[in-house]
Amino acid sequence: MSKLNLRNKIRELRFFAGQMTQEELANIVGVSRQTIIAIEKGNYSPSLELAFKIANAFKVEINQVFSYVSE
């Protein structure tokens, strides 16, 4: 499966949010930890709703979490 063009800074944001764990983030946004891992690794492109929920969890704008890289 090829990597997606969507980049994210979830790992970095988790670190600056008091070293929030993947499990904690997953509980806040209402998904499984496996989904957070898949998003972080770039193996899964979240829905717009989930992307907004993740941005809200870190209290930042969505473009500070996700960016699109055109090849």
């Binding site: 499966m1 209402g30 998904v31 499984s32 930890r33 496996q34 989904t35 193996n43 899964y44 989930l50």
Partner: protein
């Protein structure tokens, strides 16, 4: 390994055991019997109809067994994972894969009837086998998507 990945593996095991044995049984019984044309149609129809309750029953038994085993190994501390959008997407993609294989088998069976004048039994056998492989590859696809991403 996530809860849903484990469930897919359990589903794979139950499909492999239940459906494989059932299909072998159906074919063995078919080759051991002599049918009139009306009986043959009834035999295949009942074979296809019976696979549904048999599979449901075996899947329930295997799933209960899986939960009990999981509970024993986790000392009763099982946390049920939420089923989120990724799980739903993987399930849909796996099911689509499964349906495509079945439809391909169905069309192949119809082509056999129309162009090669194949027998009624051959048509039902192809439908039964394509359903089996469709389900099997659908589960494989789900396991693959969980592992490699979508």
């Amino acid at each position: 390994m996530s809860q849903h990945q484990k469930e897919n593996l359990v589903s794979l095991i139950s499909t492999l055991t239940a459906s494989t044995f059932y299909i072998i049984y159906v074919f063995n019984r078919y080759f051991a019997s002599e049918f009139t044309s009306g009986e043959e149609l009834k035999y295949w129809a009942s074979a296809i109809l019976l696979i549904i309750p048999i599979r449901i029953a075996i899947q329930i038994i295997v799933y209960i067994g899986f939960k009990i085993t999981e509970g024993i190994f986790a000392n009763g501390k099982i946390v049920d994972e939420v089923k989120d959008e990724r799980d739903n997407l993987i399930e849909l993609k796996g099911d689509r894969f499964s349906t495509n294989i079945f439809v391909f088998g169905f069309i192949f069976a119809m082509i056999g009837i129309v162009f090669f004048e194949s027998s009624l039994s051959a048509m039902f056998a192809i439908i039964l086998v394509s359903g089996y492989f469709g389900e099997l590859f659908g589960i494989f696809a789900k396991i693959y998507f969980y592992k490699k991403g979508i």
